[in-house]
Symmetry: C2
Subunit: 316 residues, 2 copies
């Protein structure tokens, strides 16, 4: 039976050993932070654990994985963190799809694919669930584990800016800071600093933004040609999805990102001020949160724009 309380979740965590921790493809701060925090915690208890990711952990998180080395062991237990759906395992980890013992997640759209699941859809981040778990267990966190958890909470809430920010997220931040987390460094790195290539790409993309339905829907497009042209790493493209919604009056912001090595497929990110982005993306087999969701649509940039805008209209 799935754990019904932090107490039951704690038991599972304390009982397991030789653990593979799975994180989702196109990793973000929350899955990286949660994966590493759980790994560091398990290792601190003398257990063996590794964090796995189909795409590898992007360079921008290397201050969290600094000193992390994979361990050799015979895998006994598999935990997924921040993964709503086995589709998100990615090519390298898809073989795990029926072998996941425990899923710890905060997505309302979680597909309940694991043998046991602990899903708290009210939690701002998977890292917030882990913070509350460790606190419940009475564990004093070291600054590295705390930095992982802080990073996940900060990135998933847009630095405490988005609608999913809860009082609990703020209280967790306050407590994590007290372990000595360098929040200025982390936030500058996660939210502010951009390479010149990224800044140049932003300028171009903003200049080409398209508006629909009385300027209430805005669409930006990143093609492989553009990404290659700006000489930026795909992991640097994280914040682009929030750009369209920064324009006064826009209610649904859409970002199309051409899939690497597949020019006929676009990853579509939707951000909304009030519409249900998750429902909109479900139309195309995707999902996510109410104000931030995603899906994949096939076609040219023009075709994909038409499809998503036509569907989005009904949500205005």
């Amino acid at each position: 039976m799935s754990p019904q309380s932090l107490n039951e979740l704690a038991k599972l965590i304390l009982d397991c050993d030789n653990v593979s921790i799975l994180t989702h493809k196109s990793p973000d701060g929350d899955c990286v932070g949660a994966g590493l925090a759980l790994c560091y915690y398990l290792r601190s208890k003398g257990k063996k654990a590794n964090v796995l990711n189909s795409d590898g952990i992007p360079k921008r998180y290397d201050f969290l994985s600094d000193g992390y080395e994979p361990q050799e062991f015979e895998e006994e237990y598999v935990i997924s963190v921040d993964i709503a759906d086995t589709q998100l395992l990615g090519d390298e980890l898809i073989g795990y799809k029926d072998k996941i013992d425990l899923c710890i997640d905060h997505h309302r759209s979680n597909k309940n694919y694991a043998k046991k699941s602990f899903v708290d859809a009210d939690a701002s981040a998977a890292c917030l669930i882990l913070f509350e778990l460790f606190e419940h267990m009475g564990e004093a966190l070291d600054v590295k584990t705390a930095s992982c958890l802080y990073t996940g909470i900060a990135t998933d809430t847009g630095c405490f800016k988005f609608q999913n920010t809860t009082p609990s997220a703020h209280i967790a931040a306050a407590k994590l800071m007290q372990t000595g987390v360098d929040i200025e460094y982390i936030n500058r790195r996660m939210f502010d600093i951009k390479s010149r290539g990224r800044i140049f790409a932003e300028q171009k993309v903003i200049g080409r933004m398209k508006f629909f339905e009385g300027d209430k829907i805005a669409v930006i497009t990143l093609t492989n040609e553009m990404i290659d042209g700006y000489g930026i790493d795909r992991s640097e493209l994280d914040g682009f999805a929030s750009i369209p919604l920064t324009v006064e009056g826009v209610e649904i912001g859409v970002t199309l990102k051409q899939q690497k090595d597949a020019n006929g497929v676009f990853k579509v990110s939707v951000r909304t001020t009030s519409a249900d982005a998750s429902k909109l993306c479900q139309t195309f087999g995707g999902g996510g949160h109410i104000r931030a969701a995603g899906c994949t649509i096939e076609g040219t940039a023009r075709e994909v724009t038409k499809k998503i805008v036509n569907a989005a209209k009904r949500y205005l």
Copy 2:
């Protein structure tokens, strides 16, 4: 004698009536939020109070001042909030400079100009001091007053991102949220939404950014000609000062803003990753916080750039 504790500050607040609350010129979220919160609180106690500002309260804060009407009364007590120096009173309020009964502020550089001062330089915002005061007094805040305080704390900490963010700031946010503050609306309005004019201006300014000292110092310039050309209100220029520091590798970011109606004078904002911005700006008679400070320098854009860059070099 100046109040030495929240208890003594509370006594002064409870004793005063017919209060003029002064806020600083070029008003920001913290002085507007603190001024209005204090005003709403005093009025809720049956006292008369007004908030005064040399430049008027910018439109972007009208969700906080909605329903606020000036009251008629014979002024008995004058409180300044978030004002480090009487220079910041501005033309309309400069006559108050020797008549300020109580100053409530969080700037380390506070000039101690008032008859009584309560300065907590460790507080992330003037609004945080007021939050802690009201909490100390056991006051239940209404959602409007709470929204004012949240806005001040959020804007002065860059939405809990800057080095001045303390655990207390997070805890205040958690408690203020519980009164029903619409943080998503406030943060979108304060941090995300930009007019098309503003977005266009940003693109241009970024395109013309100048780099010095191995790209460790970056300077952007806003002239009156540019501001007029983009058709944007000066109050929309608030976040520009943080732009130079978003470029990878930049350690000192400088923003020159030509003074309205005075082409030979520039307001200089300095943001740093580790250098002491306050000390740097003090060289030119300015001041502020360690990572964010400002000063005024006379000359052409080229001359002012040369002066500030030459001074900044020594802080790398």
